[in-house]
Amino acid sequence: SAVISQKPSRDICQRGTSLTIQCQVDSQVTMMFWYRQQPGQSLTLIATANQGSEATYESGFVIDKFPISRPNLTFSTLTVSNMSPEDSSIYLCSVEIRAREQFFGPGTRLTVL
């Protein structure tokens, strides 16, 4: 398994501002993922972040809105830009340790006013 931490754990932000979420893993991993989870809903993949390459975004998510950095094998950031109340959600990072086995961080609970 892996130990994954996220910062911040929660935040309340104003409309139009940006928030950067950090994800730190205790071991080197190739594949990291960013998800969004609306309250009471399942997980929606935002993008896949591999070290040394551009993030791959899923349909409905764009780099200008959700820029991602992956500077090394243990760290990644997701920025939620120009936020609106519709961006209020839980944002989760995960890592793949073995084939398809993903381990998740505790999540960042974002509220946009």
């Binding site: 398994s1 994954i4 594949m31 809903q41 399942s42 997980l43 993949l45 896949t48 989760l92 995960s94 793949e96 084939a99 398809r100 086995e101 993903q102 381990f103 998740f104 961080g105 505790p106 999540g107 609970r109």
Partner: protein, 111 residues
């Protein structure tokens, strides 16, 4: 039609009961099948992982995969109030790292 169907519940059972959670899927290419448990305000936790078909047991938990019926199950024996959580199934095809998720079933174990 969604690729993965899962009844969102809630499913409420008395303590000590055997719980059966299920997912159906439509993509015959799925080879990897996972069950995750998610407590309120926490990230999902990998509970069971199965490659291809068959059964896998871990303590009170048993995962079953029936590829002919495109149906997977998670059984919890001697259920405890601490098992109260949302259970999500996830699956993936060979050569595709993306997980396809079920909606999650909220399970409530009554003391």
């Amino acid at each position: 039609q969604k690729e993965v169907e899962q009844d969102p519940g809630p499913l409420s059972v008395p303590e000590g009961a055997i719980v059966s959670l299920n997912c159906t899927y439509s993509n015959s290419a799925f080879q990897y099948f996972m069950w995750y448990r998610q407590y309120s305000r926490k990230g999902p936790e990998l509970l069971m992982y199965t490659y291809s078909s068959g059964n896998k047991e871990d303590g009170r938990f048993t995962a079953q995969v029936d590829k002919s019926s495109k149906y997977i199950s998670l059984f919890i024996r001697d259920s405890q109030p601490s098992d109260s959580a949302t259970y999500l199934c996830a699956m993936s095809a060979q050569g595709n790292y993306q997980l396809i998720w079920g909606a999650g079933t909220k399970l409530i174990i009554k003391p």
